[in-house]
């Protein structure tokens, strides 16, 4: 029903030193996904992906999905629940 082609993605290559920094970053990404500016985030930083997945799973409005790509990138995306 929700093809991955129709999802709007934000892509970043930034890698943070600490989980705290990654979590602060993920918080702002989560807000943008919550306001539907885009549906998914594609990152090189596993810490950001984990923190983002945790934050999005807190939002009752979404089902959260994640995936590791063959290029070692981490994708987290949502569809309405």
């Amino acid at each position: 029903m929700y093809s991955r082609l129709t999802l709007r993605w934000e892509r970043d290559n930034i890698i943070f030193d600490s989980l705290h920094e990654a979590d602060v970053w993920a918080d702002s990404i989560g807000n943008e996904i919550y306001s539907r500016v885009y549906d998914g985030y594609d990152t090189l930083d596993y810490k950001v992906a984990c923190a983002l997945a945790f934050r999005l799973a807190n939002m009752k409005e979404f089902k959260v999905f994640s995936e590791t790509t063959t290029e070692n990138r981490y994708k987290v995306w949502v569809v309405p629940s």
Binding site: D27, S28, G30, N31, E32, Y34, S35, R36, V37, R55, N58, M59
Partner: protein
């Protein structure tokens, strides 16, 4: 001749007195009957007082602190003006005096956002954290019915923010603000 001069002087004095009385009474009428002003054309605009109120309220710039009526919380807004598309940064804080009320955990979210009176998706999901946490974020774009839009100078933002005690829904505070992007 003397009689004639006297009568001319008298009529002049009478004329002056009368005209000054008329002027005076006109001036008094202007002041004493403000309803006359309201019935004038310019008053038609005043009838839409909500427009005036909105204008006055939205004259406040999106750079500053907006307090809750109960003073238990406030929202700080800052606008990044380095590009044509503005970025709005926001922070929700509980006042120090209210920390105890919102302990041990507080919930904060933006319940609504309007840009130029068009409803947009909320920019801040429900966050649960300590009452002294800086609930913060930024908006570089906002979403209106499936479409991303960007903040521009002159946009009028209205937003409702709500903070509450995560364990007691009866304890809550809210900040409603309206501002114009600079």
């Amino acid at each position: 001749m003397k009689k004639l001069l006297k009568s001319i002087t008298f009529s002049l004095v009478l004329l002056l007195t009368f005209s000054s009385f008329q002027l005076e009474s006109l001036a008094i009428t202007d002041v004493e009957n403000p309803n006359d002003l309201i019935e004038s054309d310019s008053a038609t605009d005043v009838e839409n007082s909500s427009d005036l109120v909105e204008f006055a309220a939205s004259a406040r710039s999106c750079d500053g602190t907006f307090y809750a009526d109960d003073s238990e919380s406030f929202v700080v807004i800052q606008t990044n003006k380095t590009s044509v598309n503005r970025t709005i940064q926001f922070t929700f804080k509980f006042s120090t005096i209210a920390y105890e009320q919102y302990s041990p955990k507080a919930e904060v979210y933006a319940s609504a956002l309007w840009v130029n009176d068009v409803h947009a998706n909320s920019p801040y999901a429900k966050h649960t954290d300590l009452p002294n946490y800086f609930y913060h974020g930024s908006m570089k774009a906002y979403q209106v019915v499936g479409q991303n839009r960007y903040f521009k100078k002159g946009d009028v933002i209205k937003s409702h923010w709500r903070g509450g005690n995560a364990t007691d829904s009866k304890i809550h505070t809210s900040v409603n603000f309206e501002c114009t992007v600079g």
